[in-house]
Amino acid sequence: MKLSGAQIFVECLKEHGVDTIFGYPGGVLLSIYDALYDADIRHILTRHEQGAVHAADGYARATGKPGVCLATSGPGATNLVTGIANAYMDSIPIVAFTGQVTVGLLGRDSFQEADITGITMPITKHNYLVKDVSELAVTIKEAFYIATTGRPGPVLVDIPKDVTTAAIEYQKPGSVNLPGYDPVTEPPLEQLTLVAEAINESARPIIYAGGGVVTSGAHNELRQLAELLLAPVTNTLMGLGSFPGDHPLFLGMLGMHGTKYANYAICEADLIIAIGARFDDRVTGKLDTFAKGAKVVHIDIDPAEIGKNVGVHYPVVGDVKVTLSKLLGLIKAKQPSEWQTQIETWKKDYPLEFVDEGMKPQFVIREIDRLTRDRNVFITTDVGQHQMWAAQYLTLARPRSFFTSGGLGTMGYGFPAALGVQAAYPGETVLGISGDGSFQMNIQELATAVNYNLPVKIAIMNNGFLGMVRQWQDLFFDKRYSQTRLQGNPDFVKIAEAYGAVGMRITKREEVAPALEEALAIPKPVVMDFVVEQEENVFPMVPAGADLKDMLG
């Protein structure tokens, strides 16, 4: 049967099990949108393409399936760039489709033309410009395959308008043939034996677990490993949720705003077992002094991560779940030792703490934690102080329950991502923790939330500042608050109401819990404006480029 490119596009999405896409139409996409009109695929119209790509990202993080977004050529495509970079830094599988001007108009600076494959080359795992309709189906198949296998990541497919209108006799593409792409999932056994020996001989092991544990679904194996070794576990921001937050072996997050005990433990360990983590500079602090006395095991599916930032003694390339399950059979249980005693002492001596009076943002987040602990709540954050407090004070119990922009640090991520999570799980509670700065970066998606009845709850930690930047000005620039006071903030309650959502303002400590309970019970999008103390800082803090042990606060 003859199908147009637009119809082939829809067929391919269905074949890949795509039930929801996030997008925004435009001139070159008219045929595709016409084909979508009759298709059994839910399309969510966001109010900005950045909202669409972050929503697809949230959908992907929540479900483990690829998130799909669609944008028109030129400005539509370039509006995806931040979200694609965000997904690339956090290894999130996204397939982004962009419309393009007709093949004949390519390269002539045509109306709404942008070289989006050129632009996104450094921030996609791979990308394509489809120049002939006969290549469309096989390209889409490759795109999904590349996005979801090995180390996941975003793939962009750019489709010229005339490719969507041209018709061919459609055949399902055969198997994918990519001679240059062969991700290794099975770790070499010899290497695992060496790792097991190192682990068995270690006296002070620590597990440093990142987003790769979540991606490969290895949380059970991680827990078994930790309990077998009685090894403390510290998570990266991306790894949070992969190890139970209330487990006695859990140290919380490490790094710049990690717990003191996590940072002390990693500094004093004799063996670091890094699992699906990439030694980001926000984790290691000054590289020259990072874990000087420790041997390093590094398990990662991406060979290029091994040895990139930190010298590795025991490299293992493989899928984290496969690797850990094999490793578990090779290691011996450890007996309690001074190492556990030492860690307990650090935990007692250096707890996470704040002056718990008045409207402290930490208090609000602790209340959110207390009131949502028993629910299967999904939490997203934006970027800044509230994000770090959320990482510190939430007890995250399940993988794929906490979604945050880790690598790129994208303000404006959390709200549209929450919409993507809610679209994936309509019956569940999705709560976005945001800041007054971050929320305004994609505030227009309130319309999307109301339009599709995506009843996300947004909790704004409103301190009237770009809080994290202000904190750096406070600590390192003599409190010269240059351009960080957010004057002209809107009335968030009225904004919410204007869009048809529910708005609430909370200014007193005793109002926090009742407001949260009320919001969680309302089956509509709710914006909670928590007016919190203005100059609260996030501690502990390792200043950028300093030794991990040199923590402020």
Partner: protein, 167 residues
């Protein structure tokens, strides 16, 4: 230290941009890059000369390998290989200077490929040392224009970096 990489890539549009872009954004120091298709028209071969220590080289290889279009990478630096570059030089050559230039061309086993009123065009192939030597020797006459290909290289003997050689 300079390393010579033989890299097989899919002959897709944009592959050169992907490779060169990777070098620039990751701060790898590229000395030369020569590219052309192989006997299989769907596959191109790049000879990349890159400067860096072992750590840098390891990252270059691993990052290159992540590119979907890159099929195979061989660092042939420490192998026995034939490395060649092609240079074409246009040099000032009045009647007086010509005999001396022709002598130099002979010594370097180069060729004169064009004669103008006031100029000679000289072509030579060889390793970088020889090419640099020729260029130095001709400098006093006044070089008008130079074009060089960058290095291409192939392993000696029965060893090869082609795909058929894969175990």
């Amino acid at each position: 230290m300079l390393h010579t990489l033989a890299v097989l890539v899919e002959n897709n549009p944009g592959v050169l941009a992907r490779v060169s872009g990777l070098f620039s954004r990751r701060g790898f120091n590229i000395d030369s890059l020569a590219v052309g298709r192989t006997d299989d028209p769907t596959i191109s071969r790049m000879t990349i000369v890159v400067e860096g220590d072992n750590h840098v080289l390891e990252q270059v290889r691993k990052q290159l390998d992540k590119l979907i279009d890159v099929i195979k990478i061989d660092d042939i630096t420490s192998e026995r290989y034939v490395g060649r570059e092609l240079i074409i030089i246009k040099v000032n050559a009045d009647a007086q200077a010509r005999p001396e230039i022709m002598q130099i061309v002979d010594i370097f086993r180069a060729h004169i490929v064009d004669i103008g009123q006031e100029t000679l065009m000289i072509e030579a192939t060889g390793d970088a040392d020889k090419i640099n030597g020729l260029e130095e020797a001709l400098k006093p006459f006044g070089i008008k224009e130079v074009v060089r290909t960058g290095k291409i290289a192939m392993l000696r003997g029965s060893k090869s970096t082609s795909l058929e050689n894969e175990a």
